[in-house]
């Protein structure tokens, strides 16, 4: 996993600013220094977080495309609904707070779920505590998108839980 992150950082650096001839030794040196620096930061953060990054095993990457499609569809639908609310002749909102269980096993999965909710217009995560999210929603329909648990299942599936 740690070496996987190192490989990812090298790949990102190569694709964004890598040297295109090996004679550019200065650029190459900058690259090595910056990659090692960011990797060092990652190791420190991973330790501080108690090692939550076991989430992404190889099998999770295989499930990623399906998750991204589900994610894009839900965000698109929520955008259309929120756009309707914004452009309605009369602003008519019934804001509400709800506690939502986050059933993911890893902390990374729970954060991913919380971010999923926040990225969906109409719902935003206020707090994450004791495997429970505090979600603020604009109206009943936005609330329903979260309360029906389908987003929770999307993240669970990515995590490798029951389909």
């Amino acid at each position: 996993m740690r070496l996987g992150v190192l490989a990812l950082l090298v790949a990102v650096w190569l694709s964004l600013s890598g040297p295109y001839t090996l004679h550019e030794w200065l650029i190459l040196a900058f690259g090595v220094v910056s990659v090692l620096f960011v990797w060092r930061l990652y190791l420190a953060l991973d330790r501080a977080a108690g090692g939550g990054s076991e989430f992404f095993r190889a099998s999770s990457w295989l499930r990623l495309p399906r998750f991204l499609v589900a994610f894009a569809l839900k965000v698109a639908a929520a955008n259309l609904h929120t756009t309707k609310l914004i452009l309605a002749p009369k602003i008519d909102l019934q804001p509400r707070l709800r506690r939502v269980p986050a059933s993911q096993k890893t902390s990374f999965g729970q954060v991913l779920y919380a971010n999923f909710i926040t990225l969906t217009p109409g719902t935003i995560t206020l707090d994450l505590r004791d495997d429970e999210l505090l979600v603020y929603a604009l109206d009943a329909e936005s609330e329903g998108d979260v309360m029906d648990g389908s987003m929770d299942r999307d993240v669970l599936r990515l995590e490798g839980g029951p389909d």
């Binding site: 929120t82 914004i86 602003i91 217009p121």
Partner: protein, 110 residues
């Protein structure tokens, strides 16, 4: 550049621009801080996403597209983190939430 791809790009850019404007309108029309964060997230997701998608169509399978994908990925990680930080700070410092059904679930949450 292929004509059909140009049209796809144009449609995506205009649609992205539309959602950016909608987000801005919502920012003004909604009445309190928490509601306004929802309007801003329309700009972050639909607005930026459609525009980047439109530019990717122009880039084709190239380094440019790879960079655009990375921009989108970074945006999708950073924007919810920022939105959450803002809202949590406001909530933690006691900025009142206007709720339609106070007491049912919300007050216990403070």
């Amino acid at each position: 550049m292929n004509g059909a791809l140009d049209i796809v790009t144009a449609v995506l850019l205009v649609a992205g621009g539309f959602f950016c404007v909608v987000g801005g309108i919502g920012l003004h029309r909604f009445s309190d801080f928490y509601q306004r964060t929802h309007a801003a997230s329309v700009t972050d997701t639909a607005g930026a996403g459609l525009m980047l998608l439109g530019l990717m169509v122009q880039g084709g399978l190239s380094m440019v597209t790879l960079k655009l994908v990375l921009v989108l990925a970074f945006l999708l990680f950073s924007s919810p983190a920022i939105a959450h930080a803002l809202v949590k700070a406001a909530h933690g410092h006691g900025l009142a939430l206007e709720l339609d059904d106070p007491g049912k679930d919300g007050d216990a949450a403070g």
